[in-house]
């Protein structure tokens, strides 16, 4: 087989695109305010990470964003899984709340953000709460779907083997639901990051969103690209963390 492996082809394509970008930005009349050559963006990323660029207070701001994301995700995970189990445990409650959840999910939450700011102020609170409202639905849906698709024979078998409620939960229900719940958590993390970043860009106070706003306001274009790449890394890192966890669990 003389064909290149897909990964090699992919890398070649990406490198070619980067080289074309580099040449176009260097030798065309495109304004340096709008585009920046990839090599310069790469150096900016390094400079920002080593705190030698002109971006002010990178690490304190990044830490604020990470705190917001982790705080929002912790609540999303705990409350979302709890609600998912609650909705799945009783058919009555599940049937009653399914349409309500579906309607709430159909509302684009971003339009509610001005309300959150009015009621909660412009600190970290509205961003965290907004991250939760964006992220929690998929966790609830996946958890209750996971619990519902457990084969009832499993729990019946556990009963007849003399397992108590707690034992049944940890030995039967949890392993059976884990893969679907994990998939929900991965998606939920992505949505939480989207929520927090949207909130940071809409109300600029602190965090990576404020740095991105600073760079675009002052037309520090390479810094802007670099900061955006760094921010995207947070989402990608979380996503790949859950992918690894999922793969291990499914095995």
């Amino acid at each position: 087989m003389s064909r290149l492996s897909p990964a090699v082809t992919r890398t070649i394509i990406i490198v070619c695109v980067l080289i074309v970008c580099e040449i176009v930005t260097d030798y065309s009349s495109a304004s340096r305010i709008i585009v920046a050559p990839p090599s310069e963006i790469f150096w900016q990323v390094l400079k920002i990470v080593t705190a030698t660029s002109n971006v002010p207070h990178f690490y304190p701001n990044a830490w604020i964003t990470i705190q917001e994301v982790l705080g929002a995700f912790a609540v999303t995970a705990i409350v979302g899984i709890g609600l998912g189990f609650a909705f799945a445990s009783s058919k009555l409650i599940g049937d009653a709340f399914e349409p309500i959840l579906l309607v709430l999910y159909a509302i684009p939450m971003v339009i509610l953000f001005p309300l959150f700011v009015l009621i909660l102020g412009i600190g970290m609170a509205p961003k965290i709460v907004f991250g939760i409202t964006v992220g929690i639905f998929v966790v609830v849906f996946n958890t209750s779907a996971a619990v519902r698709q457990i084969d009832p024979n499993f729990t019946r078998l556990a009963r007849s083997l003399g397992y108590g409620r707690v034992m049944t939960f940890f030995k039967v229900i949890l392993p059976a639901t884990a893969p679907t719940i994990l998939a929900g958590l991965r998606l939920g993390f992505g949505y939480t990051v989207i929520g927090v970043m949207a909130a940071e860009l809409l109300v600029v106070t602190k965090g990576l969103g404020s740095l991105i706003d600073w760079a675009s306001f002052n037309y520090f274009t390479p810094q802007l690209y670099a900061l955006i790449i760094i921010t995207l890394m947070i989402g990608v890192t979380g996503n790949s963390f859950f992918s690894v966890l999922e793969r291990r669990w499914v095995k």
């Binding site: 409650i93 159909a106 939450m109 970043m197 949207a198 860009l201 760079a215 995207l232 996503n239």
Partner: protein, 257 residues
Amino acid sequence: MNAVILAPHVHLRLTRVIQIGFVAAVLLIWHLAATLGWVDNLFLATPLATARVFISTAILSEPHLAATLSSFIVALFMGVLAAMVVGFLVNLSRYSYFVFMPILVLGVAIPKVTLLPLFVLWFGIEKTTIIIFGALSAFFPMIVNVSAASQEVKPAQITLARAMGYSRIQTYRKVIFPAMLPVLTSGLFYACNAALVGVFLVELFLARSGMGAFIRDLATTFRTPELYAAIILVSLVSVVINMSLWFLARHFSSWRT
């Protein structure tokens, strides 16, 4: 697990009671929070005050709603069309699927909100930015579903169609397209949701017209009852759009189970 089995009509009635009770409780808490001063009245209007200004706000927001809906429809159409074309090309061979799919998956995973300042830099604060960002938001959920849909088509089905003397076009019309349709319509539901979010986000962020801009102006000028009324109006419109697509998706996948 120790479920009490209820008669179906009792079950249905209890479900309705719980739903009405939930909505009533939300309204009551909202009312109490506004009247007992848990939240300042400058920031929270009572449900009654909101209801009173609802009609007048709806009339006032009509041009904004029209602007939002027109951007949304163009954005959704562009995003879905682009996803169909790219999805079709990527899925032409297994090799191109393995080459490009990780890039597209990465595109799904990254929080695209962060790219918004770049779009403003490239396209200005015009309607173009709203439409392109909305289209991008719709593109990624759709392309995942286009790929999933093309995995739905089993090679054996195509072989069978060939064996029965179907032409290429007939195979597409009678075998491939019907097999893809359920997944495609559910992709359309997610794309529609994402496009709405994208359009509203850009409008809140920078636009001068559209519902997002209208709501932002109401919030910054503390016209609180009108703000709540406008948000409820937008939510109603979005729910109608999204739910009709949800029922469409369910309609097209009903024959499968």
